[in-house]
């Protein structure tokens, strides 16, 4: 029979955090925002590098892309989400996350949906270029990616 032990956990984190001294919560968050802003250039470069690697390894012009490790494409998409912390537009992270969803589904179903991948790569390139998509344009783009993904998944059953 399984024995379940239930007990109180000493909360060292609380004891240390509220031990007195330190910073006001709002000031600590503001200081972290300032620190994060120093990483903007590095993160923009990281996003550009990831998109370039996605295009060179998995773009529509790559003849043997189906032979490449799709896990690499997933990791590059996830790395874009990582790097989006200090940069705009946030829709870039949403597009990368949508690509992760497409790849996740493909890996589970064993069915590669290259048109959906290509459209996501185009969306990433467009968002990273900084082109003005007009009021609500980024949101509409992400909604379109969502609809596309749902439609393709429904088609694949």
């Amino acid at each position: 029979m399984t024995v379940v032990r239930k007990f109180k956990i000493p909360n060292r984190l609380r004891a240390a955090l509220f031990s007195g001294g330190g910073k006001r919560i709002d000031e600590a968050v503001a200081d972290a925002d300032v620190g994060l802003a120093t990483l903007v250039d590095a993160c923009l470069a990281a996003v550009a590098d990831c998109i370039a690697r996605i295009e060179s390894g998995f773009g529509s012009q790559v003849a043997d892309r189906q032979t490449h490790d799709m896990g690499d494409l997933y990791r590059l998409s996830a790395a874009i989400i990582d790097a989006c912390a200090p940069i705009e537009p946030k829709a870039l992270a949403d597009a990368a996350r949508s690509l992760c969803d497409v790849l996740d589904y493909a890996m589970e179903a064993g069915h590669w949906d290259w048109p959906a991948v290509d459209i996501h790569i185009d969306a990433l390139r467009l968002l990273a270029s900084g082109v003005d998509l007009g009021e609500g344009g980024e949101q509409r783009l992400i909604q379109s990616l969502d609809k596309l993904r749902q439609h393709r998944e429904a088609l694949a059953g």
């Binding site: 379940v4 984190l13 910073k23 919560i25 968050v29 590095a42 989400i81 989006c84």
Partner: protein, 201 residues
Amino acid sequence: MPASPKPPWAKVNFEDLSIVVVDDNQQALDIMIQVITGFGAKKISRCLSADEARKVISDGQVDMVITDAMMPTIDGYDLTRWIRREAPEHNRFTPVIVVTGHTPRRDVVKARDCGANYIIAKPITPKTIMDRILWVAREDRMGIDCDAYVGPDRRFRRLGPPAGMAGRRSGDLNDEIGAAVEPNMSQDQIDTVMKPQKVTV
């Protein structure tokens, strides 16, 4: 009952906290370190793999672990499981926050079931990280240790439907996890899985 939320003018002291940050992506590691350094943390161990983190956790007292979910060889879920079952006794219930870019429901459930205190969706913001650290610091969840699970109590407190409601709607709290993929969960949706709280309908 958990302690009351702290107002923004309340003070927090990160200086003496020993924090381990784990991510195989150097960029993501830099981002998280920058954020908690801004909070005032000084004792930070940066680890590019779960193996490095295990060495640090084995060697000293750690007050909080922030780990990426998706890492090669040993991922953030396995690292959390190791902490809960095999780390030195004094670190076995150290709060663990899992951070991940892609949050299908099955991964959120996986994080909860490996013994993590919380899962945070990337891209991170300082406010989200601070909020979740404060939530973890305030919570009074009991520890559970059994064959199948070691970690903070995962159960929701059943406080019944809200005032004026006869019960839940039929579609609420569907626990089915699809075989293939589910849509990515937002941070609010993650919170409903990870945080014991009153069920809202």
